[in-house]
Amino acid sequence: MDPRGPTDPAPRRSYRWLWLLVAGLPGLAFVSPLFGPTAIPAGVVLQVLGHELTGGLLFPNPCAGASLPDSCSTYFVIVWQIRVPAVLLAIGVGAALGISGGTLQGLFRNPLADPFLLGISSGGTLGAVIVFVFFIGSPQVTAALPLFAFAGALATGLVMLAVARSRVGSVETLLLAGVGLSSLLSSIVAFLLIYNRQASTQITDWLLGSVAGGTWPEVGITFLVLLAVSFLLLLHSRELNLIQLGNDVAQSVGVDPSRVRVRLILLASLATATAVAFAGIIGFVGLVAPHVIRRLVAVDYRAVLAGSLVVGAVFLLAAWDIDLFFAELPIGIFTAFVGVPFFLAILFRRSERSTMGGG
């Protein structure tokens, strides 16, 4: 028997990539409000950004002068009330999905795990559908949608938590329970939608995921949750490293795997539920982000978690910008368009290196 098992001649990894992404994020975030269906002079966009970001100290209000009297206030609203919140929501949601994906891939020791693995998307969808089916037409729908989606997503996460806490809660059981629960919830959703065509037209954009409707309060809540959850998740990166060596080894080194599992599922569900509540179902980000870091930067979960956060944010923001170039379609469509070629490139880069012997 080959004692080394399937050898992985370790493609050269470097933190350079991570710093590149960290540096790229603010830059990309800053140019993103330049794009949109309305042609707004770049100067005006930058002036608005400068004015608002410095609290009006450095740049004068571009609409105060007489140069652009009519359309200027419209541009102001478009840039500051519509484009900037969408950009920030893309960043927040991408980061939340990225770090959840990194966490769950580590927790389940499964490279195919993603934030929706635990049935969280189906739970959120059910919550959203319930709103449209039972409260359609009521003025509360708008506020109820994120609340119900959040509640549905988190409730599913909590059910999975109960499974994880139970005696039978092995990693495999949890995976299977997640898949099973997901299917059940999807069936309920399909059943409800078949009898409510009006609800199904209302929910299309939600199902395909969209950050287009991002508002400042949503951005605020997303970042609040993201900040707290990321901090707590990063504290658990050493446990994740140990869990990679198997439950027994982790336990022998002092980790309490069942306790860690409960915490991580709770935190990942919280982050995912928040993303789902405000942006609907956006796939692929949470699946890919951790892999990018593992291939390019490091396999250490301290790097994987922090990196997935950044990659998720950059990735979704890039998808959003490309989305704006084409037309404003649900962003969930573009994550795969952007992600798959990039993903394949990374995979091929790796196999090329392994034939070279790596090093």
């Binding site: 949109g36 269906p37 309305t38 359309s71 419209t74 609203v77 478009i78 009330q81 519509i82 484009r83 359609i136 037409g137 003025p139 509360q140 729908v141 708008t142 506020a143 109820a144 949608l145 994120p146 609340l147 959040f150 009898y195 065509r197 009006q198 037209t201 209302q202 299309t204 954009d205 939600w206 395909l208 969209s210 287009a212 409707g213 508002t215 309060p217 949503e218 605020g220 809540i221 609040l224 949750v225 707290a228 959850v229 901090f231 707590l232 504290l235 915490r263 709770l266 919280l270 928040t274 084409f326 037309a327 404003e328 379609l329 649900p330």
Partner: protein, 344 residues
């Protein structure tokens, strides 16, 4: 002994960390809940119906729309966004085309203006792609902002989330026009006329509508038979998509002196399996046209040619808009067209 030292220092810090962990989690949950609740209330429009006094104050007008929302709108707004083809029909017939600065569209890549409006409508109402506000698959608030309307008229093709954002982000009043029944079409005519101060036009239009409805009722009394009808707007390999109870399609067929075979179906838009249609044996088949659909499309339905109505040549096409868009055109054009089919 080094071992004991590290134990002594590690233990209390770990307890403290556990407490911190709990505390932070609690704060996050509490903060999240508080934020969500605040969002709930901040986005909830003013309470509906009863408290909407109505009447005008200083160039403004308070009214209750079709969803029971109390909305304060500017009187006779110069710039109005019309986010539904059915509202556009009413607005045009009231002579308000000049006020329209924006209309609903699908994503440009997916059909744009022509996905929501027939080419006849585009020509008649002089709509241009520059007026487009993308309402689906994602609502593009920026399009609407750029059109700088004073008032937005919308139906439920605009998602309720988007409606709320139009109010909260752009600060624009949105009047939802979604008539629940044929009578509601006349009420919406009145409502629009009130906003724009065109009462005379509304009276004329509503009397035309009333006459058409009365004619149909009168004619129905004279019919000795009410033929059974299959009204389908789409088909696939399983059967025929049609209108169930409580839809405009079904009401219109009934009013035109026929009985839809799906009139009592509790699902508003049921798909009838081919064998159900064969068993019900409708005397007449009516199919929806427009948006590229014609009779050859419907012949692909299962057992199409076995239907006695098809064999007997009792097959008629009608513009789908007449059956689905709750607007004056439904009554003025759709109803007579159906009457002519059922009782030539």
């Amino acid at each position: 002994m080094a071992l004991n030292d590290s134990r002594a220092t590690a233990r209390p810090s770990r307890t403290a960390v556990s407490l911190t962990w709990l505390a932070v989690t609690a704060i996050v949950c509490a903060g999240g809940a508080a934020g969500a609740t605040a969002l709930f209330y901040s986005l909830t429009p003013a309470a509906a119906g009863a408290t909407c006094a109505g009447g005008a104050t200083a160039g403004n007008l308070s009214l209750t729309d079709d969803l029971g929302r109390c909305v304060t709108v500017p009187f006779d707004p110069a710039r109005v966004a019309v986010l539904s083809p059915s509202i556009m029909d009413t607005v045009y017939r009231l002579g308000l085309r000049a006020h329209v600065v924006a209309v609903d569209c699908y994503a440009t890549a997916l059909g744009g203006l022509y996905d929501d409006y027939s080419s006849d409508q585009v020509a008649l109402w002089n709509l241009t792609p520059s007026m487009c506000v993308q309402v689906a698959p994602v609502f593009t608030l920026e399009d609407l902002a750029n059109a700088t309307p004073d008032l937005v008229l919308a139906s439920t093709i605009v998602s309720q989330t988007a409606v709320a954002q139009i109010g909260s982000v752009l600060g624009l009043p949105v009047v939802m026009l979604q008539p629940p029944d044929l009578e509601g079409i006349l009420r919406d005519v009145t409502l629009l006329a009130e906003i724009f101060g065109v009462a005379t036009n509304a009276t004329i239009l509503n009397s035309q509508l009333s006459v058409e409805l009365a004619n149909a009722s009168a004619a129905r009394a004279t019919f000795s038979t009410t033929p059974s009808v299959l009204v389908t707007y789409s088909v696939d390999s399983n059967g025929y998509w049609t209108y169930g109870a409580g839809t405009f399609g079904t009401s219109l067929v009934t009013l035109a002196g026929a009985t839809s075979i799906s009139a009592t179906n509790s699902n508003p838009y049921p798909e009838l399996p081919a064998e159900t249609v064969l068993a019900d044996n409708p005397a007449i088949v009516v199919y929806g046209t427009g948006f590229g659909l014609n009779e050859s499309y419907y012949t692909t339905a299962p057992d199409w040619s076995s239907l006695p109505a098809v064999q007997g040549g009792h097959v008629y096409g009608i513009d789908s808009n007449y059956l689905t868009e709750p607007d004056p055109s439904m009554i003025l054009d759709g109803l007579p067209a159906l009457l002519a089919i059922f009782h030539p």
